[in-house]
């Protein structure tokens, strides 16, 4: 299996996708959560808006973004119609960039949820700690950076686990968005596994890839869980 170019593509895509997806989702989710935490007036409405994508299935998200990103009638065409003739945004059909369109759609879908988790975490932080820090002379950014965000550690933990499993099991999103294409340029191990096991009847390669996915998840999650749980037992 390791000699297959397609497997190469699949797992490098998974790495690219997971890293970009998780990092950007966390950053955007945290940023939105901090914004909403500033006690702004329409928070309820905004929170609902950001959370709304989560109510959609990945299939719907994938299909919607397939249209938005399509160079013939999506963003590229709109901007060109606005007069920027040379504007190109063809990531969806560009084999080099297609995996990043999956990242975009995935972030759109999941960052609202991440925001909700972070917002809950922010609300759970004792106000007195923030007061203590401001008496200690910390500026607002410092308070967020040194006090609040480290205090969100358990939330980060949940967020990372949730996003990681979304990333590794991502399948429906890719199928709906560009069907692992163009060619197989946005293949990930999950679509690879499906193709080999069910379309081509090569159960051996299919199960090998599934086993590798399992091992990757174990390799990442188990040490993480272990360290988290162990440090809690110290109390």
């Amino acid at each position: 299996m390791f000699s297959l170019d397609r497997w190469d593509v699949a797992y490098t895509n998974l790495i690219k996708f997971s890293v970009c997806f998780i990092i950007l989702c966390v950053l955007i989710g945290l940023f939105l959560a901090i914004l909403l935490d500033q006690k702004i007036r329409v928070e309820g409405a905004l929170r609902a808006m950001y959370l709304y994508p989560m109510a959609l299935s990945f299939i719907v998200t994938g299909t919607v973004w397939k249209w938005i990103l399509n160079p013939e009638f999506g963003v590229e065409r709109i901007v060109q119609n606005l007069g920027f003739e040379s504007f190109t945004f063809d990531w969806l059909v560009n084999p080099e960039m297609s995996i990043y369109t999956v990242v975009i759609a995935g972030i759109w879908q999941s960052s609202g949820f991440v925001m909700a988790l972070f917002l809950a975490g922010l609300r759970g932080i004792d106000n007195q700690i923030i007061h203590a820090a401001s008496i200690d002379g910390a500026s607002l950014p410092t308070i967020y950076w040194r006090i609040i965000i480290p205090g969100l550690r358990p939330v980060f933990f949940s967020v990372l686990i949730i996003l990681l499993h979304i990333a590794i099991k991502s399948f429906d999103l890719i199928i709906a968005l560009n069907n692992a294409g163009p060619g197989y340029s946005s293949d990930v191990p999950a679509t690879f596994m499906y193709t080999y096991s069910f379309s081509r009847g090569q159960i051996a390669i299919g199960s090998a890839s599934a086993t590798i996915m399992l091992m990757v998840i174990i390799a990442i999650v188990v040490p993480y869980l272990y360290s988290e749980l162990r440090s809690e037992k110290h109390a």
Binding site: L4, N70, L92, S98
Partner: protein, 424 residues
């Protein structure tokens, strides 16, 4: 007294009934048919088969599994077969029939075939696909021709281009169409569509001879031949004549572009015809169907068929035989194929119900069956095992979607195919 009379009457009627039962040629049974004809037109075709069978007094238990272009159905079928409870018949085609034969679970319907004279009604290439170790185990429902070029004559006229018969003519015409500001080649950039185009290119460049060696016999030397390299180069050139939106596009959307006159040509199987006729277009006038460039003497077939599983119950066996016979009857072949746009698998059918494209197809089918130009479509799982075909498709689609050189493509093709072949 009265009760005794009653008993006698019952006994009499029982005797009568059993006598009648013995005297009838077939007893009524039930067939359970696994298929994936779930979309509108296809479901109608399945219903036609059901009606014909029920007219013969058998019961039809529908077992339709939608999704994945048959992948889901195959998964269900495998689990049913492994559980020792396969359906009576299942929609399986191409080399997969041999795979099922190897499992030793198929029923021999040679008796029905002999009675129906299948050997003479089917071209031998087709008959061979339906046989396992010399016995019929499957019945074909239709024949699709894959190497079609669909063209919009209005676009050609507008660009001052001529319909192409070779790939050189194709590119001449394409240049003119492109200069006229239209899309020369409507294409849906999905792996199976890339592969569909590629098999027609190989057939057009190297003829049936190279096609068979590369796709059916998996001959390594032929895979490395100039013909293959040239085929890859043609595929690369096609890239310049498609539009930016082509990757990921569904085939029927690409057909729609030809119908609307946005694009000039599409290489696609004869199922595309339904799109034209549904849009109210007339063959020969509003659209042209012709063999893909350089493949007028060849015919890549894609045959849907049903395989039959061993049945222990004699009633079910009778019903199964009836199903096999019904499938090959002219009545079903005609109704089904007119609806689906394909042509009947059996020869010598009445021509009247079919349109011009289908008639061309039928003529070429007979002709190529004799000349040896009749070849199985590799992109549609008729030529090679799915693992091997998948390996080929991977290289083709990768090549089409990157700037890989034709030499590298040939090398990767040989490696991939040989590995997949070895893994069988």
């Amino acid at each position: 007294m009265k009760s005794k009379n009653n008993i006698q009457r019952i006994v009499k009627s029982l005797v009568l009934a059993s006598t009648l039962g013995l005297s009838s040629v077939v007893s009524a049974g039930e067939v359970e048919v696994l298929h994936f004809w779930t979309s509108g037109g296809e479901a109608k075709s399945a219903a036609a088969l059901k009606e014909l069978l029920e007219a013969k007094g058998h019961q039809w238990r529908d077992f339709a599994v939608a999704g994945g272009g048959g992948d889901a159905a195959m998964t269900v079928l495998k689990s049913r077969a492994v559980a020792g409870n396969p359906p009576t018949a299942a929609q399986v085609k191409g080399p997969s029939i041999q795979e099922w034969g190897n499992e030793g679970v198929l029923a021999n319907v040679s008796a029905v075939a002999a009675e129906g004279d299948w050997d003479n009604l089917l071209p031998s290439v087709v008959a061979n696909v339906m046989k396992y170790e010399g016995d019929y185990v499957a019945a074909p429902v239709n024949v699709h021709r894959v190497n079609w070029l669909w063209a919009n004559p209005a676009v050609f006229e507008q660009a001052g281009a001529a319909l192409p018969n070779t790939w050189d003519e194709f590119f001449d015409a394409a240049d003119k169409i492109k200069a006229a500001g239209l899309i020369p080649f409507a294409h849906g950039g999905q792996p199976w569509q890339d592969f569909t185009v590629f098999e027609s290119i190989v057939l057009g460049t190297g003829g049936a001879d190279l096609y068979n060696k590369v796709f059916v016999e998996l001959d390594e030397a032929s895979m490395k031949s100039d013909g293959m390299k040239k085929s890859f180069e043609i595929l690369r050139r096609l890239n310049d004549y498609t539009d930016a939106g082509s990757p990921g596009r569904d085939w029927n959307v690409a057909t729609g572009m030809v119908i609307e006159g946005k694009a000039a040509m599409q290489v696609m199987g004869d199922w595309a015809k339904g799109e034209f006729t549904n849009a109210g277009k007339m063959p020969g006038k509003d659209f042209v169907c012709m063999a893909a460039p350089g493949t007028a003497d060849a015919f890549t077939f894609n045959i849907d068929s049903f395989i039959f599983f061993d049945q222990s119950d004699s009633g079910a066996r009778d019903a199964q035989n009836a199903l096999a016979a019904t499938i090959m009857e002219p009545e079903f072949q005609q109704v089904f194929n007119v609806a689906k746009g394909s042509i009947p698998a059996r020869l010598n059918m009445p021509r009247e119900p079919f349109d011009a494209c289908a008639l061309t197809s039928m003529d070429d089918f007979v002709k190529t069956a004799e000349t040896g130009g009749l070849v199985p479509s590799v992109a549609h799982g008729m030529a090679a095992y799915s693992a091997v075909a998948g390996a080929m498709s991977d290289v083709v689609t990768k090549f089409f979607n990157s700037d890989m050189s034709a030499e590298d493509a040939v090398a990767a093709y040989v490696t991939n195919v040989m590995e997949a072949k070895a893994s069988l």
